[in-house]
């Protein structure tokens, strides 16, 4: 039996939530910027008005301001994004329990079993779109199809506040002329390879020689070939709702190269402040930490990474910083000065999960740190991120910008 799969994508999610909460922003170019107070941040999201000025996610705030002098930049409110992500989720739950989140603002829904009750995919999609607009003041674009990949493709075709159906009997006419890079799983390097072999559209990919794809792109390539032909059988895999996040990371390219342990410690400490905040917002504890160091070697950018387990699962910025630093100290040999540092809290699990206490680790000390940081967090919530800081971060630490690195992977598909 054919399935009915919906992919719902909340449009410009962060920026839309900000404008919904503060209607005075509506109609103006608005961007959400990381690290606004510090004037060193980057654009995390923007609304359509800002898009018209060519503002791009990831660019420096000063660059964005140059493109659009009236750009209104607001700091991120992750708590609100999480709240509205959850509220949207509870609306989806009225239609099916087969819900697979993809990042904070996207989900797949398998409503095959409930079409008799609620109507066909297009009808349900429009109902969802209207309800989310009325109840949450936000817009979504929805793709309706018979598989996840095409549903996702559909939600990208028309936005904002729109529904696109890609039917099984006519999907070739609808999507085969689209660029191959529109297909989920076709990244930049794959696209480059395909282009160099004259494969530019999804249709051309669908009709490519399997031998060539198999030889050059392997198993993933064959999967893409199947996707282009509408042969995506991956399931909508329901998950208990917690943001599907495996790691939280922050990285930075420093203004000048770092030359000693003390300088690296400052950067690690600064990066983990944000990591600690995010872990709190997402209700996660980290079981491990990973660091990624980049340096210039013979005029080429080189890099190394290491990871280790934490003695106790925690969301404490101080502990993650300490473990990351110790990992760095015992791993890096200072053959080259350092250009960039990334710290990631890894192996995340819910804070509600009971902790298996280890005999040799001091869980009480960890808990004390976490309590202290709860207070710090409250102060920052009321008076701003820089109201309270480790003293060693109050100097110039060669740190230019915040970077957002969020790992997002769909289940049962690529990788």
């Amino acid at each position: 039996m054919d399935r009915t799969i919906l992919h719902c994508d909340m449009n410009n999610f962060y920026a839309s939530v900000e404008c919904m909460l503060n209607p005075k922003l509506k109609g103006h170019p608005v961007a959400v910027g990381g690290d606004v107070e510090n004037r060193h941040g980057i654009i995390l999201a923007k609304n359509y008005e800002a898009k018209k000025f060519g503002i791009q996610t990831g660019e420096a705030l000063w660059q964005a301001k140059q493109k659009c002098r009236n750009l209104i930049i607001v700091p991120p409110h992750y708590e609100e994004y999480l709240k509205y992500s959850r509220l949207a989720h509870s609306i989806y739950e009225d239609y099916t329990d087969l819900i697979e989140p993809y990042g904070m603002d996207e989900v797949w829904l398998d409503i095959t079993g409930s079409t008799k009750l609620f109507g066909n995919g297009e009808k349900v999609a429009n109902e969802l779109r209207e309800r989310i607009k009325f109840e949450l003041g936000l817009t979504i674009s929805v793709g309706v199809s018979f598989c996840k990949v095409f549903a996702k493709l559909g939600s990208d075709l028309k936005k904002p506040d729109a529904v696109t159906v890609i039917p099984k009997d006519s999907f070739r006419e609808v999507i085969w002329n689209l660029p191959a890079s529109d297909l989920l799983g076709v990244g930049r390097s794959t696209d480059k390879f395909l282009s160099s072999h004259g494969i530019h559209t999804i249709g051309e990919l669908a009709n490519a020689y399997p031998d060539l794809i198999q030889r050059k792109l392997g198993k993933n390539g064959m999967m893409l070939l199947a996707f282009a032909n509408g042969k995506d059988r991956s399931r909508v895999a329901p998950q208990d709702y917690e943001p599907p996040m495996k790691s939280v990371g922050h990285g930075i390219t420093t203004v000048q190269d770092l030359e000693n342990n003390a300088e690296v410690w400052n950067i690690i400490l600064a990066l983990t402040q944000d990591i600690g905040h995010k872990l709190r917002v997402y209700n996660k504890n980290a079981a491990g930490v990973a660091i990624y160091i980049r340096y210039i070697q013979d005029k080429q950018l080189g890099g190394k990474q290491w990871q280790c387990q934490l003695p106790v699962r925690t969301h404490s910025a101080a502990i993650i910083a300490r473990e990351a630093y110790q990992l760095f100290e015992r791993s890096y040999r200072w053959e080259f000065p350092i250009r960039s540092v990334t710290v990631r809290a890894i192996n995340l699990c819910s804070q509600d999960l009971p902790e298996q206490l280890q005999f040799f680790s001091d869980a009480a000390a960890v808990e004390r740190k976490e309590k202290l940081e709860t207070v710090i967090e409250e102060i920052r919530g009321r008076f701003g991120k820089y109201a309270i800081q480790p003293a060693c971060l109050c100097q110039d630490i060669k740190m230019p910008t915040d970077r957002e690195v969020e790992l997002r992977m769909p289940t049962g598909m690529i990788g």
Binding site: M20, P23, K24, L25, K83, Y84, K133, F134, E135, G137
Partner: protein
Amino acid sequence: MNQPQQFRKVYVEVQLTVSPEGDVRPNTIKFEDGTVYAIDRLRHRCRAHATKVGGTGVRYTVVIRGQETYLFEDDGKWFVEARGNVGC
């Protein structure tokens, strides 16, 4: 951002009756200036976006002194969409 704003979000004190089944009914609203308004009728309840002042919540359509108005509950706090620019 300087355009005149006609409505503002005002958080209010409310008195509630909670039935044994858990149904919540607001009885009175105490406005920021201390005036207490009795809610004469409760017409409708739904989840909705507060289009005039931003945010969302459970929206109660209530009648106060013959006038229909909205009262919102969001994460345990209650607010109304008040007319006027005071305090902005």
